[in-house]
């Protein structure tokens, strides 16, 4: 039985879904313009969510301090998003609507997201495009000057807006520009090369953060009236992922340990089209945008162990397995489904390339029909990137691709106002769990980050300020000193171990464990094994890690050591969550729960809930809290793309 936890108050409004957000906004309390300047908001992370939040909150008159680990806020990993951003503009006249984007996203997430949140996201999607165009984002256009669109996975309409293969870059530079304008106005103070290492909670409210200045090593304390975490996902726990090298879970993890619940940690997205691993020196994986599946066809040879070059394999000896298994969506099947299908053909021994862990993504039909220039214009930079990395020319030979870790749907639990279980701690973008359920559709991450930052937090944070009492606090208080002392002790401990294994070696080992047992396919035995192994590895880490250098300098090894220490804890929670969820849904595929034809088998009766985990101490198991998912407008069905 699913029992609603009294600790999870979702604040989801009631009534018709179309008007929920509007009515909710009307019911939120306001802070007058003159009073706004009395509040200080600490925004951590400056990707799409963080930069758009910092800009919008500062425009309203709040004092904002913005922190990022990069040397410039413009470099946050949103910059690397390639394909596009969804919006229900229906500019194509192809039947799109807010309802349809909502429905596709709920279904795409395998009915493990909240209806009200997803509807709001779809509703706000149209405002995002307007905002970004006004900022000068150079979206792709048609000859008549109107905006162009393309299709992404899990949709039968064309609703994705794009700027070549650099949509994330252009959107982030737009948000960064808006934030820098507020820096110039004196409303945003920027703190680059700062890593948040702890949250300061006073009288149950989030009132500050402890950061390490990454240049000097100094610990710095900042007080505020609210903390807005926009620190991204935790996919780098797997070591090999499409994330940037510095993406990490430390901020959200340390908030978890201060009392913020962590929701659905096992929901991790493995993206089907990435450049395959070439060697054990590999430091990261590179995505090839989903947009390529608009014009590329995925196939493997029908015969096992067929080592002929692709152009020598005749048409009737090829298996276009996505088109065969999912005829109505074809190559645009959603990510979780496509990834599993790729894994399945490789497991059968029909994979290609030196490792046999790859499939072809072939553009030759489109090149023949529409010409080379068409492909060059649409995907030129992606093709170039592929060629740089592999040394092969994808205009001549098909790309070889394989799934890789790309995004995490799980994250800190938030209510409808994007506030965590710690009052005053708001969580935006990939760092929260809220909108994508068990699988995120392509081109929806940019949409969510910007919806949260531009259009949700500016409303909801004011309601918080107007509803609670926030006495002034200074960083002299014991809570700040204690938090700083515990951070310092941890850093010193890491440096003092002086063991024999490097941070990188531990991280690689952890990554392999997660990939093998908490990856594309999971089972109870494997998960139990993984939990034991992770615990042992964590123990070994704290006895045998070698961190060079000292704390009073730029020391990237020390930065990484802290992050890997946190990944070693989070990994266990991911496995615990995966073990407890005895069903398959979206990206969470438990081998024990599948249909005869290998599709995910959900168990709505037992698992139609958000699993929110509460930290109970380092030597105690976390406590599970359930937030039931109630579907009033969409009936959960077997998710079919056939």
């Amino acid at each position: 039985m699913i029992t609603a936890s009294p600790k999870l108050v979702s604040k989801i409004p009631s009534g018709p879904i179309e008007s929920r957000w509007t009515r909710h906004k009307d019911s939120l309390k306001l802070v007058s313009p003159t009073n706004k300047r009395k509040f200080t908001i600490l925004v951590v992370g400056t990707g799409l969510a963080g930069a758009s939040a910092a800009a919008s909150l500062a425009e309203l008159g709040y004092n904002v301090k913005a922190f990022c680990i990069q040397d410039s806020p413009r470099r946050a990993h949103s910059i690397a998003a390639q394909g596009g951003i969804n919006a229900a503009k229906n500019y194509r006249n192809d039947g799109d609507s807010v309802w349809r984007l909502f429905y596709d996203t709920i279904k795409g997430g395998d009915f493990r997201a909240r209806e009200a949140n997803v509807y709001r996201l779809a509703e706000l999607s149209v405002n995002i495009i307007d905002q970004c165009v006004a900022q000068g984002v150079p979206f792709a256009r048609e000859y008549g000057g109107l905006l162009d669109n393309r299709s992404f996975g899990g949709a039968q309409v064309s609703r994705t807006f794009y700027a070549r293969g650099q949509t994330g870059q252009q959107l982030l530079l737009g948000a960064y520009g808006a934030m820098m304008r507020q820096v110039e106005e004196g409303r945003v103070a920027l703190y680059p090369r700062r890593e948040m290492l702890d949250l300061v909670v006073i009288n149950g409210q989030a009132r500050g953060i402890i950061c390490r200045n990454l240049v000097t090593g100094q610990l710095e304390a900042y007080a505020g009236d609210a903390v807005v975490l926009c620190t991204g996902g935790y996919g780098n726990a797997y070591f090999l992922a499409t994330y940037a090298k510095n993406s990490n879970a430390t901020a959200i993890w340390r908030c978890y340990k201060r009392g913020a619940f962590f929701a659905n940690p096992c929901f991790t997205q493995i993206h089907p089209t990435c450049i395959p691993v070439t060697g054990d020196y590999q430091s990261k994986l590179t995505l090839m945008s989903e947009s390529l599946r608009n014009d590329g066809r995925v196939w493997v040879p029908k015969k096992k162990g067929d080592t002929r070059p692709p152009n020598e394999i005749p048409e009737d000896e090829r298996d276009y397995f996505l088109e065969r298994r999912y005829p109505s969506y074809g190559n645009l099947a959603p990510r979780d489904i496509a990834s599993r299908a790729v894994k399945a053909v490789c497991d059968e021994g029909r994979g290609v390339g030196a490792s046999g862990r790859a499939v072809y993504l072939d553009f030759s039909d489109t090149i023949r029909e529409k010409g080379l220039d068409y492909i060059k214009e649409k995907y030129g930079n992606l093709f170039e990137m592929y060629q740089h990395i592999t040394g092969e020319d994808p205009y001549k030979v098909p790309m070889r691709i394989y799934p890789a870790v790309h995004y995490t749907m799980g994250g800190l639990w938030v209510d409808y106002n994007l506030m965590s279980t710690i009052p005053g701690l708001f969580v935006l973008g990939e760092a929260n769990f809220s909108d994508h359920g068990a699988n995120r559709l392509g081109a929806s991450a940019l949409m969510q980050g910007l919806a949260d930052g531009y259009f949700i937090i500016p409303y909801t944070i004011g309601d918080y300020f107007a509803s609670v009492s926030l006495p002034k606090v200074s960083t002299d208080r014991d809570e700040f000193r204690d938090a700083q002392a515990s951070v310092e002790a941890k850093l010193k401990k890491l440096l003092a171990i002086q063991g024999k294994k490097t941070v990188l070696e531990f991280h690689r080992e952890l990554g392999l464990l997660l990939w093998d047992y908490v990856g594309m396919a999971r089972n109870a035995q494997g998960l139990q094994h993984a939990i034991e192994k992770i615990r042992a590895l964590r123990q070994e880490f704290w006895q045998n890690v070698q961190v060079p250098g000292s704390n009073d300098m730029l020391n990237k090894s020390l930065e990484m050591a802290g992050r890997v220490a946190d990944f070693l804890e989070l990994a266990e929670l991911m496995a615990i969550d995966a073990l407890h969820r005895e069903e398959s849904c979206g990206a969470h595929f438990r081998e024990e729960y599948q249909t005869p034809d290998g599709e995910a088998l959900r168990n709505d009766e037992k698992f139609a809930y958000v699993a929110a985990w509460e930290y109970k101490g380092d030597d105690q198991p976390p406590e599970l809290h359930q937030e039931p998912l109630i579907f009033e407008f969409v009936k959960p069905t077997v998710r079919s793309y056939k």
Binding site: D71, A80, P138, L190
Partner: protein, 252 residues
């Protein structure tokens, strides 16, 4: 896949902090795969140094796919190294010769002080952007996206300029350490679009003033910036910036 292993000799600039004097130190890294990226090779070196109890070589990198603009240093005298149109993180060992000696030093410019080893401070770029590298539009006040018609050619041209990743290679390559390519790319991106017109004059005046304040040198048309730009940003934008600057001065 190439199976033959490679050896590289690396002459790397080591500098403990901004105040300390720096020097080149020679390292040899063996058994490298040609399919390895250049930064992965530095990862290997750093693992070896760590195991020997020495301090690893600090360098900035993040996305490792050429878009974030975090990485960048000078390889054999060329910012971002031997391959045109690529960042350091997009170099592979197959771009180098087995047994080659490779010199690595930080981007050098008065406006980019060295923080440590190959890491430099490029925050001057952020201050230039704060001065005016945007269109002033508050959240929520935008008209419908399709109410602004932008011909495809114009959108594409604006995009070409907007592709700048702010890595700073242009400054490092310029004999005068000028930031003109970086600044003009943003000015051109916004000047080419209809949305950018209202603030066009104000923007160019403010950004250029900030650039001068940051101790960047003047542009004297060497063109080295364009040659090292990983995004192939054209120096024609510098001409556009100058025209706009003059017009803005005259209009004042």
């Amino acid at each position: 896949m190439n199976k033959k292993k490679m050896t590289l000799h690396l002459k790397i600039w080591r500098q403990a902090n901004a105040q300390a004097p720096g020097r080149f130190v020679l390292y040899t890294v063996k058994d490298l795969s040609p399919d390895m990226s250049f930064l992965e090779m530095l990862d290997v070196l750093n693992e070896e140094l760590t195991k020997k109890g020495e301090l690893p070589v600090e360098f900035d990198s993040d996305c490792r796919e050429g878009i974030c603009g975090t990485c960048g240093f000078v390889i054999n005298g060329v910012a971002h190294g031997p391959r045109r149109g690529r960042t350091v993180c997009q170099l592979y060992l197959r771009d180098f010769q087995d047994g080659q000696t490779v010199t690595l030093e930080p981007f050098r410019a008065k406006a980019f002080p060295v923080i440590k080893d190959l890491v430099v401070d490029r925050s001057a770029f952020d201050r230039i952007m704060a001065a005016g590298g945007y269109i002033s539009v508050d959240t929520g006040s935008a008209p419908d996206a399709n109410s602004i018609l932008i011909p495809k050619e114009v959108a594409e041209a604006a995009f070409d300029a907007a592709a700048c990743i702010g890595c700073g290679a242009c400054v490092a390559a310029c004999p005068n350490a000028s930031a003109s390519l970086f600044v003009s790319a943003k000015i051109a991106h916004l000047a080419l679009l209809p949305q950018g017109q209202p603030e066009r004059h104000r923007r160019v005046l403010k950004m250029v003033a900030q650039m001068d304040k940051e101790n960047f040198g003047n542009c004297s048309n060497h063109g080295e910036c364009e040659a090292v730009c990983p995004k192939n940003i054209s120096i024609k934008y510098i001409a556009l910036m100058r025209r706009d600057y003059l017009r803005a001065l005259l209009a004042k």
